[in-house]
């Protein structure tokens, strides 16, 4: 049960933080169609996150955070009145977030964003496709819906990779640079966490180690057509063997959360 809650948080946080990053494109996209598309993707991911956060909440994941994120001695105040999804989103500190670090990275320009989206959606699609067979019916159902959404996200990203990679000289350079910048964060996607391993053995979760072939297949198809080169850059290292799934993030997450959580934390008694 604790493992399942942790696993729901992992999948939820990936979507939640990715959605927050994408929402940062609002009013900044290169074309109105892209405003609409990026918002769509952000909304899909936000929807996935909400279901998974609620599930994690039902499994008890929100309880440790209901007293507020602060020092326990500030205990005169009652438990937070918010829904589980909001307690988990707004009153967890960064160290309790379980997302892979790829999703929290600065999206940079549109080229880097597209590279990020291609990798992220190919990986999550492969993951969700397998998760439709999960022994946990809720996860299987979430995955079923997510597969449709992620297929669109991946195709959207792939089309833009082609346009930018095989567009102008400038766009080719920028697209390749975007891919290069994203690359160090790819390896972590395939590192199984102990929770994932245990739940995969129980037929509930997906071992991400097995997803590499499917992501590679997408990249091997898209990148050469887009005249792009698969980067050869070292993966970012873990910190003492721990990465995003263990709550050890990049410096980017703290700043992202500072903004995301600021208003909710200024009014812990409030519901909205």
């Amino acid at each position: 049960r604790e493992d399942l809650a942790a696993y729901c948080l992992m999948l939820a946080d990936d979507a939640l933080i990715a959605s927050q990053r994408l929402a940062g494109w609002t009013t900044k996209a290169p074309e109105l169609e892209e405003e609409v598309a990026l918002a769509n993707i952000a909304l899909d991911l936000l929807g996935q996150a909400r279901v998974l956060l609620s599930r994690a909440g039902h499994l008890g994941a929100a309880e440790p955070f209901r007293a507020g994120p602060w020092d326990a001695q500030r205990s005169g105040a009652g438990p937070l009145p918010q829904d589980d999804e909001d307690v988990l989103t707004y009153f967890r500190d960064d160290r309790a977030f379980r997302n892979v670090t790829l999703v929290e990275t600065d999206l940079g320009d549109f080229g880097r964003t597209i590279a990020w989206l291609l990798v992220l959606s190919s990986w999550r699609l492969a993951l969700m496709q397998r998760l439709t067979g999960s022994g946990d019916p809720v996860l299987a159902a979430v995955a079923g819906k997510a597969v449709k959404e992620l297929t669109y996200h991946r195709d959207y990203a792939a089309q833009w990779v082609l346009r930018l990679g095989d567009g102008t000289e400038v766009s080719h350079v920028r697209m390749q640079a975007g891919l290069d910048a994203v690359w160090p964060f790819v390896e972590e996607l395939f590192l199984p966490h102990a929770v994932e391993r245990r739940l995969a053995d129980a037929g509930v979760a997906v071992d991400p180690g097995g997803l590499r072939a499917e992501v590679d297949a997408v990249l091997d198809q898209v990148l050469p057509t887009a005249t792009l080169t698969r980067p050869e850059r070292p993966a970012v290292g873990l910190v003492g063997g721990r990465g995003g799934r263990d709550g050890v993030h990049t410096e980017a997450l703290g700043t992202l959360l500072a903004l995301m959580q600021s208003l909710a934390r200024a009014h812990p008694e409030a519901t909205w």
Partner: protein, 322 residues
């Protein structure tokens, strides 16, 4: 349609007569129909201004997406701002049926040669502003726009039908947010009243200058582009909004606002037209910021649009070659 002798001699006059008859009969003018140049220009200006307003209007709301205090509100707000991008798309498409394209209009916007609704030059300072924009700003927009669903120009009228439907939805969401805040903590209630205090007068300005100072209104009404004067619509908006404010429990910041039994309408105080003119002329609180953001997005996106065109051209060339 039979061609009369008179029409043969002056085809332009005949077309104009036909146009006038269609408009007078509440018919629809379609893109392929003949239309007077003034009508076309007025429409382009009005639709472009409306499209620009949708696009610039994304900014004040976008300011709170990353900080929305619950995931439900975040989803609602993100979807709303997305809808506005969608509205911008339909409206720019409607202008394309009149022979101008989007990039041309975008250039005019960022060069300050075309306007957008002055209301979006005010800042969003708290999350209650999001609710108040939904309630008051979208509310005023709906009052302005519902008659446009019967605009004489077909593509515009059809776009407005869809837009008005979505705007009503947004307005209800805004009102619901405010209801929630008013039922919340003292701080939340104070936030709502503060937001109402800041947005009320600018929302009245959304209907444009008083009728006496609105020279284009008569022609637009004759062409059935517009169907009511600015002051008529403003009065309708006030009458509609006052009871909503009461239901909500907020005070509209106008000591002269009261029901006039004789007129069967609300009297209200004088609008600060100096402020309105200042904002229209570019000296509002956020004009520079809004245009600078829009310009930056447009310029930063140039390489992407160029790539898309180049790619499309290459693909077309390949198809020809194949």
């Amino acid at each position: 349609m039979t061609v009369t002798e008179d029409q043969t001699r002056d085809p332009e006059a005949a077309l104009e007569a036909q146009f006038d008859r269609t408009v007078a009969a509440e018919g629809r003018i379609e893109p392929r129909d003949w239309m007077p140049e003034g009508y076309r220009k007025t429409l382009i200006r009005q639709i472009a201004q409306h499209a620009h307003s949708e696009i610039i209007g994304m900014q004040p709301e976008g300011n709170w997406i990353l900080r929305a205090p619950s995931l439900r509100r975040k989803a609602i707000l993100l979807a709303k701002v997305q809808d506005e991008a969608g509205h911008g798309l339909y409206l720019y498409s409607a202008t394309e049926t009149l022979g101008v394209d989007r990039s041309e209009l975008t250039e005019k916007l960022i060069d300050s040669k075309q306007k957008y609704s002055s209301i979006f030059n005010y800042p969003t300072l708290t999350f209650a502003d999001i609710g108040v924009i939904g309630w008051l700003v979208d509310g005023a927009a709906i009052v302005n726009q519902v008659p446009l669903c019967r605009s004489s120009y077909g593509p515009y009228a059809r776009a407005m039908v869809r837009i008005c439907k979505e705007e009503s939805f947004h307005q209800r969401q805004g009102f619901e947010l405010l209801r929630t805040l008013m039922a919340g903590t003292d701080a939340q209630r104070a936030m709502v009243q503060d937001a109402v205090d800041r947005w009320w007068w600018p929302s009245l300005m959304m209907f444009g200058p008083a009728d006496g100072d609105s020279p284009n209104t008569q022609q637009s009404m004759a062409w059935r582009i517009k169907r009511h004067t600015n002051d008529e619509l403003r009065q309708r908006y006030v009458d509609m909004t006052v009871p909503q404010a009461e239901a909500l429990g907020v005070t509209l910041p106008d000591p002269e606002l009261r029901w006039n039994d004789e007129r069967q309408a609300h009297d209200f105080g004088d609008i600060d037209w100096d402020e309105f003119m200042q904002v229209v002329k570019g000296a509002g609180p956020c004009n520079a910021q809004r245009l600078q953001n829009r310009r930056a997005a447009h310029e930063d996106g140039q390489w992407v649009r160029d790539a898309a065109s180049a790619y499309a051209a290459k693909q077309a060339a390949k198809e020809v070659a194949a």
